[in-house]
Symmetry: C2
Subunit: 125 residues, 2 copies
């Protein structure tokens, strides 16, 4: 089977993100949303329950956590498994696709943390 992901050659115009109607924009919006980034990074360490994520991410309301998780689930990045017991037990994890974005996003956050000293030094005002 040949992969169907067409590789973007280095110099290929990958300017499609600039196209307003491009679905990429929508995905990008979900991924880079305020809580999307944090949730993806958190899930990179493995399966988490709702309340675990809530504690780990910190300062996120139930509403936004649920909402963001639903978006990520819709985009096929997050897997939601509900155990029908009482009290309810729901587990969230990354799909293979989610692992992919997760790596990219984690690379970004890692870069920022690693370069934070330089950044803070270069900051004006």
């Amino acid at each position: 089977m040949q992969t169907d992901t067409k590789h973007l050659s280095r110099k290929m115009r990958r300017g499609e993100i600039f196209a307003v109607q491009c679905p990429s924009r929508e995905i990008l919006k979900h991924v880079t949303s305020r809580w999307g980034v944090l949730i993806l990074v958190a899930l990179m360490e493995g399966t988490h329950r709702f309340s675990e994520l809530r504690r780990k991410v910190g300062e996120v309301s139930e509403k936004m956590l649920a909402q963001t998780l639903q978006q990520l689930e819709q985009d096929g990045f997050v897997n939601r498994v509900s155990h029908p017991v009482v009290p309810p037990h729901v587990e969230y994890s990354l799909t293979p696709l989610g692992l992919g974005v997760g790596q990219q996003v984690e690379a970004l956050t890692d870069w920022i943390e690693m370069n934070l000293p330089k950044i803070m030094a270069a900051r004006q005002s």
Copy 2:
């Protein structure tokens, strides 16, 4: 000279992004803002003038473009050079630091575009 960027070992808790008061959150917010991402990617291709950026990014108001550029400039990612002529001529480019984040951000957008087929296929609803 030895680099002062301490490398994050694979398993190191790089959970500092989760700390609410961490400056990383602020930087991350700017970088992943609606227009921050697009602007950084656009500038990866070289110096641009204000109106060039405006046309390239697309659908961005003057206000938001100016505002986001100021944030990125403050964070030390973008260089602003104003030629005091009439009509005004201002050029924006990436600083070395900006090139760093730019690469991370571009990696993310590239990944999304490359995997868009898979993503759209996996999407529910």
